[in-house]
C-alpha cells in the first residue's frame, strides 16, 4: 500500500509526459500509476483522448485505457463519412475475450480512419497517442471540447480509479 502511495505521488510530481518514445510497459501493478498522460490533449471520463488541430479532431484511447484492457486483438472502426455524436459509441476494441465500446468525445463527421489498426491492432497498446490513433473527425461543434478534461484533471481521474 505504501509503495502504491509513493508511486502515485511520484507520478503526480513528474507528470510523466512522453512525446512519442514508448517505454516498455512494466508487468507489475504499480505500473498503472505511470500511465502516461499527454499535455495538450483533451480527455473523457471514459478514457478517450482528442487532439484538436484546426478543423480536425484526432481521437484514440489513452494509455490508462489500453493498460486496463490488455492486448488489443481486434478493432472495429466506422467508415469515413459516418456521423458520430459526443458520448456515443463509434467502434469497439477487443482484448482478452472482451469487446469494449469506444465513445467519441465530440460530434461530427468521420473523415479518416486509421488503416493500420486492421492489420496491427496492437498499435493501440504500444502507441496509444500516436500510431494507435483511431479516427479523425471534423467537429460539428468545437465548443464541445471545452467541457472535456485537461491532462491534470484526467491524471487525477486515473489515480482515483486505480486507488479502488
Amino acid at each position: 500500500m505504501a509503495l502504491k502511495l509513493w508511486a502515485s505521488s511520484a507520478a503526480n510530481a513528474l507528470r510523466i509526459s512522453c512525446s512519442g518514445a514508448r517505454t516498455p510497459f512494466p508487468a507489475f501493478s504499480i505500473s498503472r500509476c505511470f500511465s502516461s498522460v499527454i499535455d495538450g490533449l483533451k480527455y473523457t471520463s471514459s478514457h478517450e483522448w482528442v487532439k484538436h488541430e484546426g478543423s480536425v479532431a484526432t481521437i484514440g484511447i489513452t494509455d490508462h485505457a489500453q493498460g486496463h484492457l490488455g492486448e488489443v486483438v481486434f478493432v472495429e472502426l466506422p467508415e469515413s463519412g459516418v456521423a458520430v455524436a459526443k458520448g456515443g459509441s463509434f467502434g469497439a476494441v477487443e482484448s482478452v475475450k472482451a469487446t469494449s465500446d469506444v465513445n467519441s468525445p465530440v460530434s461530427g463527421e468521420v473523415i479518416e480512419v486509421n488503416p493500420k489498426l486492421t492489420e496491427t491492432p496492437g498499435l493501440i497498446n504500444s502507441s496509444p497517442y500516436e500510431d494507435g490513433w483511431m479516427i479523425k473527425v471534423k467537429p460539428s461543434d468545437p465548443s464541445e471540447l471545452n467541457s472535456l478534461m485537461g491532462s491534470k484533471e484526467y491524471t487525477k481521474l486515473c489515480e482515483e480509479e486505480d486507488a479502488h
Binding site: 471514459s46 493498460g67 486496463h68 484492457l69 490488455g70 492486448e71 481486434f74 472495429e76 459509441s89 469497439a92 477487443e94 482484448s95 482478452v96 475475450k97 472482451a98 469487446t99 469494449s100 465500446d101 465513445n103 480509479e161 479502488h164
Partner: protein
C-alpha cells in the same frame, strides 16, 4: 471503510439465447442510467452456437442448415471471443456490472471470471487453471472446461462465462472451439471423481464466488 455493494442475482431455467440477449440489453441500459444496481443472470441455453464480434465463422465446421437439423441455433453477437457452444447442463453467468464501480478494468475482469470457475472446479477436486496468453478460459490440462466472452459498453459488462457441468460435448465437434484447434473440451462431470449435486447448486456456487472475487457485500436472490 468498505462500501456496501449489493449484487442482484436472477436465476432462470433454460432460456433462449435471443431472449437472454434482449434482457441483457435492457439491463445494461438500466445499469448505465443508474436505474438498477449491479446484477448477475444465472441460466442455461438450449443448444446454441454463438460467434463474437470478429464473426469467425470459418471456425464453424458444418453448414447452418445442418445446425437446424441438429436442433441448434446460431447467433452472431457483439461479445469478444471466438465461436462457442452453449447447451443444457452448461452453467451460464451473465454479470451486468459497472466496471468502474467494482474497480476493475477489462483484463482484470476477465481474469476474475476465470478465477470464479477455477474456484468452483476446485470444490469438486478438479485442478483447473487459466489458459496461456491468447487462450482465455479455464482449462484442465489441455481440455477446456470454461469459456469467457464479454462485452463492455460504456463501462457496463454483458455476456460473461460458460462453465461445463455436463453438457453434451459432441456438439463441440462441429466447431473449432474458441478458434483454438488441437485442444479438447471437457466438463466437470468428466473431470471429477465426486458425485455432482443438482445444477442449481453449482450455479449458486458460481454466483457466491463471483460476489467474493468482485467484492460484493451481499447478494439479493431473485428467481424468475
Amino acid at each position: 471503510m468498505r462500501l456496501q455493494r449489493s449484487l442482484e442475482a436472477c436465476k432462470f431455467g433454460i432460456i433462449n439465447y435471443f431472449d437472454a440477449l434482449k434482457l441483457q440489453e435492457r439491463l445494461v441500459s438500466d445499469r448505465k442510467s443508474g436505474k438498477i444496481l449491479d446484477a448477475i443472470l444465472s441460466l442455461q441455453h438450449p443448444p446454441t452456437y454463438t460467434l463474437g464480434k470478429r464473426q469467425t465463422d470459418h471456425n464453424l465446421l458444418v453448414s447452418e442448415a445442418d445446425l437446424k437439423t441438429m436442433g441448434a441455433e446460431l447467433h452472431y453477437t457483439e461479445r469478444g471471443g471466438d465461436i462457442t457452444f452453449h447447451g443444457p447442463r452448461q452453467a451460464i453467468l451473465y454479470p451486468i456490472v459497472s466496471l468502474r464501480d467494482i474497480g476493475f478494468g477489462a483484463r482484470n475482469y476477465v481474469e476474475g471470471l476465470e478465477s470464479v470457475m477455477i474456484e468452483v472446479a476446485s470444490f469438486y477436486g478438479v485442478n483447473a487453471h487459466a489458459g496461456k496468453t491468447g487462450e482465455t478460459g479455464v482449462w484442465v490440462g489441455d481440455r477446456k472446461i470454461g469459456a469467457i466472452g464479454v462485452r463492455i459498453s460504456s463501462g457496463i459488462t454483458s455476456h460473461g462465462l460458460a462453465f461445463n457441468i455436463d453438457p453434451d460435448l459432441r456438439y463441440f465437434k462441429h466447431i473449432v472451439p474458441c478458434g483454438i484447434p488441437d485442444k479438447g473440451v471437457t466438463s466437470l462431470k468428466r473431470e471429477t471423481e465426486m458425485e455432482l449435486p443438482p445444477d442449481e447448486v453449482i450455479h449458486e456456487q458460481l454466483i457466491h464466488c463471483f460476489a467474493k472475487v468482485f467484492r460484493f457485500s451481499d447478494i439479493q436472490w431473485k428467481k424468475q
